[in-house]
């Protein structure tokens, strides 16, 4: 069973995402920030990581960078709810892609597209 790590500081989103991937047949792990996510991934490497961008402690872009450094093959999907233009989510998500995220989605993420992407990345 493929393992997916979900990193998001919003607990409700995190739990919802876990249920979504679990019910789609994946094993799910959770982390409330990038730092915890790194630790979990080090001890129990995931096949795919879904990470939020804006988080306390280690935020998303840092996390992606760090993950790609240690495990360049890690498959990452970046998601973000930011929508403004000083904190421009599009630009951040673009940055995430530059840093190695395989796919990015703005929140709320279309479930169908998310699951399709996960399936594609894991086969």
């Amino acid at each position: 069973m493929k393992r997916i790590l979900i990193i998001d500081d919003d607990e409700q989103v995190r739990v919802m995402l876990r249920k979504t991937v679990e019910r789609a047949g994946y094993e799910a792990l959770e982390a409330p920030d990038g730092q915890r996510g790194m630790e979990i991934n080090n001890s129990t490497p995931a096949d795919l990581i879904i990470t939020d961008i804006f988080m306390p402690e280690k935020e998303g872009l840092e996390t992606i960078m760090a993950l790609k450094e240690t495990l360049p093959d890690t498959k990452i999907i970046a998601i973000s709810g930011g929508g403004g233009y000083l904190t421009n989510s599009i630009r951040y998500l673009e940055m995430a892609k530059q840093l190695g995220a395989a796919q990015t989605f703005p929140k709320p993420v279309d479930r169908k597209k998310l699951l399709e992407t996960i399936q594609e990345l894991l086969t």
Partner: protein, 591 residues
């Protein structure tokens, strides 16, 4: 004595001879005449000092002769000779003819004879001397009089010169006084230019001094509105207000072609002391008024026409001196107008800058809210979709949950709309009640945090209106509330909001520099969170100052709040202590 000439007149030759001999021996020049006619001839041809005349003579008697001789020579002394029988006649001669004395014939006493003669001559001498003295006295007097006249003339001349000098001095003094008045007026105006920026005050000052110094009863001071070219009259004498036929008489449209305009269009001053054609033509056209005399000066900087000073109906004639003064005033006034226009331009640019900064700030805030909202919506949508997976389509719950998804998607759209709206926002102020704005803002607060935080609203249903931009006020409320919630998110607490009318007195106003006495609507946002140190409190309104973690806040929130409140002519105060929560009071001036 020998010089004196004596005429003897007697018809008796013996007496003549005897007397002549006696008198000649005494040293007198003696002439003799035997009758009146001969005596008159002698007296006519030569000077005789004394005549001794026999009173009784044939043909012309002595008395008659005396009258003749006296007519010829009024200084002639006369002694009458008389026999006994003619004493009465002799006395008559003394009284009427002016004879000096009379002697009786025959002579009894020679001494008496000579004595009488000498006395007569002495009398004559004295009389002549007296006359000569009088003459001299008169001459002296005349001389004196001449001197006095001359001196008087000199004095009069000097006086005239003095008067002329006085006139000159008076003129000089008057000129000095004018100069002093002009300098005082210009100094006052210059001072006003430095101390006040109010174009109204400066216009009134120009008006006051210009009409006063030129003794004008009518005056008009104003500036040219750059956009329209209209003259905006700021200061005007009452007669102009009253007599002006223009309905909106603070604005004189460019098309009006009165005297003022003609001078203005040529950008040259106009000075006339004659009747203006406005008056002679009998009826006034639109925008014109009667004037007896007129002084009109454009206020210019270089070739740029900025304003106008127009004066009319002076009590006297306008002079070049008046013109020079008003030109100086116009130069200063032009500076004031230029400054006013520059300031308006600056204010406009600042307003533009403020708007663009506001846009940024709104965008920041909106994106912050959107971020949290999107998480909330995502969790609603995601969970609803998960739930739907396990519910048969026939189930009643299926439709209910489907409605949650529909609503969630609407909410997501709304967030996008707010973001779009915040980018296009333009500030429009209108008199509004604050209650709905506050209630709406509270609805937007993070519901997850509200699980541990109680919100209490104490909003007076009846509050004064405030001239506000609702979007901005929404941001103020949101910012204050978000900060309050953030301060309580660890341990929970109570967020309290108040809205009430309030009168600020001078005592309260003195506690805050942005606060003036008056009527306000006060919004209070109070939390029971971690509070602030004094050092933090001093910096919270600084841009980009934040105590939040990265990604949680931009540090723009409170500085934007302060900017908005200042733009609304309001004030914000803060009270806090570490561990004691914080309280923000926002004062909006009542509309």
């Amino acid at each position: 004595m020998a010089e004196e000439k004596i005429l003897l007149v007697d018809d008796e030759p013996d007496i003549l001879n005897t007397f002549k001999t006696l008198l000649t021996m005494e040293g007198f020049h003696v002439r003799t005449a035997s009758g009146g006619k001969q005596a008159i001839d002698i007296c006519t041809s030569e000077p005789i000092d004394l005549a001794i005349i026999d009173i009784r003579m044939p043909r012309m008697n002595g008395i008659e002769l005396i009258k003749h001789l006296k007519r010829l020579n009024k200084d002639l002394e006369i002694i009458v000779l008389s026999g006994f029988a003619t004493v009465d006649n002799a006395i008559e001669a003394l009284h009427e003819g002016g004879a000096f004395d009379f002697l009786k014939k025959p002579l009894e006493n020679l001494d008496e004879f000579f004595h009488t003669i000498k006395q007569a001559l002495e009398k004559r001498r004295l009389r002549l001397q007296n006359r000569r003295l009088l003459e001299e006295l008169k001459q002296h007097h005349d001389h004196l009089e001449e001197l006095v006249n001359q001196r008087t003339a000199e004095l009069s001349h000097a006086n005239k010169e003095l008067r002329s000098e006085n006139t000159q001095r008076r003129r000089a003094e008057e000129a000095l006084q004018w100069e002093a008045s002009v300098n005082a007026a210009l100094a006052e105006l210059s001072k006003a230019l430095i101390s006040t920026e109010s174009i109204d005050d400066i216009s009134e000052l120009v008006m006051k001094n210009a009409t006063h110094l030129t003794e004008s009863s009518s005056g008009l001071v104003g500036y040219i509105e750059p956009q329209t070219g209209d003259l905006i009259r700021i200061a005007m004498t009452h007669d102009m207000w009253d007599r002006c036929p223009i309905p909106n008489n603070t604005r004189s449209p460019k098309r009006f072609d009165g005297l003022r305009r003609r001078g203005e269009n040529k950008k040259t001053p106009l000075l006339t002391n004659g009747l203006t054609e406005d008056l002679t033509s009998g009826d006034l056209r639109e925008g014109q008024m009667l004037s007896r005399c007129c002084l009109s000066v454009p206020a210019m900087i270089g070739e740029k026409l900025l304003g106008h000073i127009a004066l009319a109906n002076s009590n006297r004639e306008y002079t070049q001196r008046d013109l020079a003064l008003i030109e100086k005033m116009a130069n200063l006034y032009a500076i004031a107008i230029q400054r006013k226009l520059s300031q308006e331009e600056k204010a406009m640019l600042q307003d533009r800058l403020r708007r663009s900064q506001k846009f940024e700030a709104i965008g920041t805030l909106a994106s912050g809210i959107a971020h949290d909202f999107n998480n909330v919506i995502y969790s609603i949508l995601g969970n609803a979709e998960l739930a739907l997976d396990n519910i048969p389509k026939e189930s009643i719950a299926y439709d209910d949950i489907d409605q949650i998804i529909v609503a969630g998607k609407r909410a997501a759209d709304l967030v996008q709309q707010i973001l779009t709206f915040s980018r296009q926002n333009t500030s429009v102020r209108q008199p509004l009640a604050l209650q709905p704005i506050i209630q709406e803002a509270v609805k937007f607060l993070d519901r997850t945090l509200l699980q541990v935080i109680e919100v209490r609203l104490n909003i007076d249903a009846v509050c004064g209106l405030v001239l506000v931009d609702p979007t901005q006020i929404f941001q103020v409320v949101m910012n204050l509330c978000i900060n309050a919630l953030h301060a309580m998110r660890e341990g929970g607490g109570v967020l309290e909001l108040w809205l009430k009318d309030m009168t600020v007195d001078s005592k309260l106003a003195a506690t805050h520099q942005d606060l003036a006495p008056g009527n306000y609507v006060r919004l209070t946002v109070k939390d029971t969170g971690h509070g602030m140190t004094k050092a933090t409190m001093e910096r919270i309104f600084d841009p980009f100052y934040t105590t939040k973690k990265i990604g949680e806040g931009t540090g723009m929130g409170l500085s934007m709040v302060l900017g908005i409140i200042k733009n609304h002519d309001g004030a914000i105060t803060v009270k806090s202590e570490p561990g004691q929560g914080a309280r923000f009071d926002v004062f909006f001036p009542k509309y």
